[in-house]
């Protein structure tokens, strides 16, 4: 069924379709509509899960970990400062192997306060053991919620998933969405059954400290991340068979013969793709590799995808002060001999024109030495 909805509505429908059982939440712009929508559905009886308005995002994540530990499928959504407040608990969610799913509606981090989108909030959580999906359309948002649950709950994975979409550009922008049928999603995503959970008939101690075994447990999280690469391909293959929409580890556009490969993530990729196509019309062989997966980092896939390009331009809508773009070093490590430049643009939702992208891609194509430029 084709519907028109914004990203916040798409993610709420994704949660409903996944038959989430618990949702602790706390409002924050630009994710608030998700919290409000689930409240309304909870009140009207459209959704029968456990809904709680918590006192902070920190409390949200603690409750989410705990309800997941009981064995109830748990969902929440946040953004920016809310995600930053959760930081302490994010590696606890992965370390306790709690396969919950959270949507992060990307927004720049304070200070100064901004309500507008960039990816610094999302990417600053990349070392906490979460599977990290980056979406570029509202369709991808709604599809990724059940996909993320199925991957997260895989017995070889058992890790939480974070799904990123862009504040405002997704969250408040309506577009066409093909709504998956509930019955088909039910066949795709069975009920959650955790082997180890909180159960008075089978008591276990969860979240306990470890001494010598600490490194063992954290390395297990890393191994589970690597296992997720296979699981993601398998699960997305099943999604394609059932729903006809294909998602890879990353998305390639015009990459086959590209001399300059642009690497980016998020909603701005629509604009970047237009710039690439504009350059193609002018005879410049540009291509776009849109990142869908930040963790696990699909290194081999990206290396192969970039192997033909002599020039690479990484577009970061994020900033690690003192280092530069956050995606840049990761992408650069997946290249061999290419001139890899970095364009940091769109911080705090600053608009970037298609012509600005096109000019930067042209410069990257000509560059003999890597450059780093900012759009301030």
């Amino acid at each position: 069924m084709i519907d028109i909805m914004d990203g916040n509505m798409a993610v709420s429908h994704g949660a409903m379709l996944s038959r989430v059982q618990c949702m602790p939440c706390f409002p924050i712009t630009p994710a608030t509509e998700i919290i409000e929508t689930m409240a309304e559905w909870s009140r009207s009886g459209k959704w029968n899960g456990q809904y709680r308005l918590m006192e902070s995002e920190h409390a949200v994540m603690a409750a989410a970990i705990a309800s997941e530990m009981v064995g109830a499928r748990t969902f929440t959504a946040t953004s920016s400062q809310g995600l930053e407040l959760m930081h302490e608990l994010l590696p606890i969610a992965s370390g306790t192997r709690s396969p919950l799913v959270m949507a992060n509606v990307c927004r720049g981090i304070s200070a100064p306060i901004t309500l507008w989108g960039d990816h610094t909030d999302f990417l600053s959580t990349r070392d906490f053991g979460w599977l990290m999906f980056s979406c570029a359309t509202n369709q991808e948002v709604i599809d990724t919620v059940p996909i993320a649950y199925k991957v997260s709950e895989d017995s070889d994975v058992l890790l939480p998933s974070m799904l990123a979409m862009d504040g405002f550009v997704h969250s408040y922008t309506r577009s066409e969405v093909d709504m998956p049928a509930q019955a088909e999603v039910d066949r795709f995503l069975p009920r959650l059954r955790l082997k180890t959970c909180i159960d008075v008939d089978n008591p276990a101690s969860l979240g306990i400290p470890a001494a010598d075994e600490y490194s063992y447990f954290r390395v297990q999280v890393h191994k589970a991340q690597l296992n997720a690469l296979d699981a993601i391909e398998r699960v997305q293959g099943e999604w394609e068979r059932r729903f006809g929409r294909r998602y890879g580890l990353a998305e390639k556009s015009h990459m086959d013969d590209a001399d300059v490969a642009v690497v980016a993530m998020g909603a701005n990729c629509a604009n970047i793709r237009s710039a690439v196509e504009e350059l193609r019309k002018r005879g410049k062989k540009a291509g776009l590799l849109r990142l869908r997966l930040i963790r696990p980092w699909p290194l081999d896939y990206i290396r192969r995808a970039l192997s033909g390009a002599s020039k690479v331009l990484v577009i970061d809508q994020d900033l690690a002060p003192g280092r530069g773009g956050m995606l840049y070093p990761e992408v650069r490590a997946a290249t061999d001999g290419a001139v890899v430049s970095n364009f940091i643009a769109g911080l705090g939702g600053k608009p970037v024109r298609q012509s600005e992208y096109a000019a930067m891609i042209s410069d990257a194509l000509r560059a003999r030495e890597p450059f780093r430029r900012f759009l301030i």
Partner: protein, 304 residues
């Protein structure tokens, strides 16, 4: 479980195995054992980082009931998640939080307040050793005035040691309009366990502030834990009471003999630096507090 009349009524079977890594004479562990004896097997125990966290150390656990630890400030929030999960799966269990005073008065205060505001069906027991004991006895907002902690050493500028009066958490919980608030001490196990039993039969959020003498932090012999606690109660330094949030009724559950506070304070190295004038200040405060409590003026009394 029925209310108890004497020590013989306490179940023999413990739901916590022996050989845990607490300090010798730990009041908090005694409080936890008594809590589970009063609640029984169908209990989920929510822990917060602190002394009691280290009792379970991979691959061992002494707990014969489900036990959950998330972080230090997550007592109320993790308990909420457990409650949500159990409700979603239509399972029944008593949910009890056993959290330290630092995790309840200070860093986890917000999460406790949220739990109470939502009136979640959870029993929250704060085991109160009056400082951050697990990290070596640093001051918390539960530390009483005049106590020496590793971050309030008595010196020329602050001869009294801790210059702050403690936060009155139980009273703060009472004004959250939850159905049941009480204080207790491990030195009075029947009083404590009966409060747990009474609380467990009430739907909604229940709070008990449980004083647990700490031999290493307070500075006394490990065999004296119960005696030290008893003298704190006897001297009126730790009033034992219940507050019925529905009836808005305050009731002292154990009337103290009101022995001089000096007799209780001399047990503990953390008060040994106090001179007669400072001890007198505490005595005056306790006297005034009891005058008001005896008149039923709970909310007007400033607790020591």
């Amino acid at each position: 479980m029925k209310e108890m009349h004497g020590l013989k009524d306490i179940p023999k079977e413990s739901l916590i195995g022996g050989g845990t890594s607490t300090c010798q004479g730990c009041g908090a562990m005694l409080g936890c054992k008594l809590l589970l004896k009063a609640l029984g097997k169908r209990t989920v125990l929510v822990n917060t980082s602190g002394c009691m966290t280290l009792t379970a150390l991979y691959p061992y656990t002494p707990y014969k009931v489900p036990w959950v630890h998330v972080a230090i400030e997550t007592g109320g929030s993790a308990a909420t998640g457990i409650s949500m999960g159990l409700k979603a799966l239509k399972k029944n269990a008593t949910i009890a939080v056993y959290a330290g005073d630092g995790a309840s008065y200070d860093i986890g205060f917000e999460s406790l307040s949220g739990l109470a505001e939502r009136n979640e069906d959870v029993l929250y027991v704060c085991y109160n050793n009056s400082a951050f004991s697990n990290t070596g006895f640093q001051r918390a907002s539960s530390s009483p005035w005049g106590s020496k902690t590793s971050t309030t050493p008595p010196g020329p500028r602050t001869p009294e040691g801790n210059a702050f009066s403690r936060k009155d958490l139980a009273k703060i919980m009472a004004v959250h309009r939850i159905p049941y608030v009480a204080t207790a001490c491990i030195s009075h196990p029947i009083d404590y366990m009966n409060k747990v039993i009474r609380a467990s039969k009430i739907r909604g959020c229940k709070f008990i502030d449980l004083l647990v003498p700490c031999p290493t932090g307070w500075g006394f012999q490990s065999a004296d834990t119960v005696d030290v606690g008893r003298r704190m109660v006897d001297a009126g330094l730790w009033p034992l009471y219940e507050y019925d949030g529905k009836a808005k009724q305050f009731k002292v559950s154990v009337t103290p003999r009101l022995i001089p506070v000096a007799e209780a304070l001399k047990d503990q190295a953390r008060f040994r630096h106090l001179d007669a004038k400072q001890i007198n200040r505490i005595q005056t405060m306790v006297d005034k507090q009891w005058q008001l409590l005896k008149a039923g003026k709970y909310f007007e009394a400033d607790f020591y």
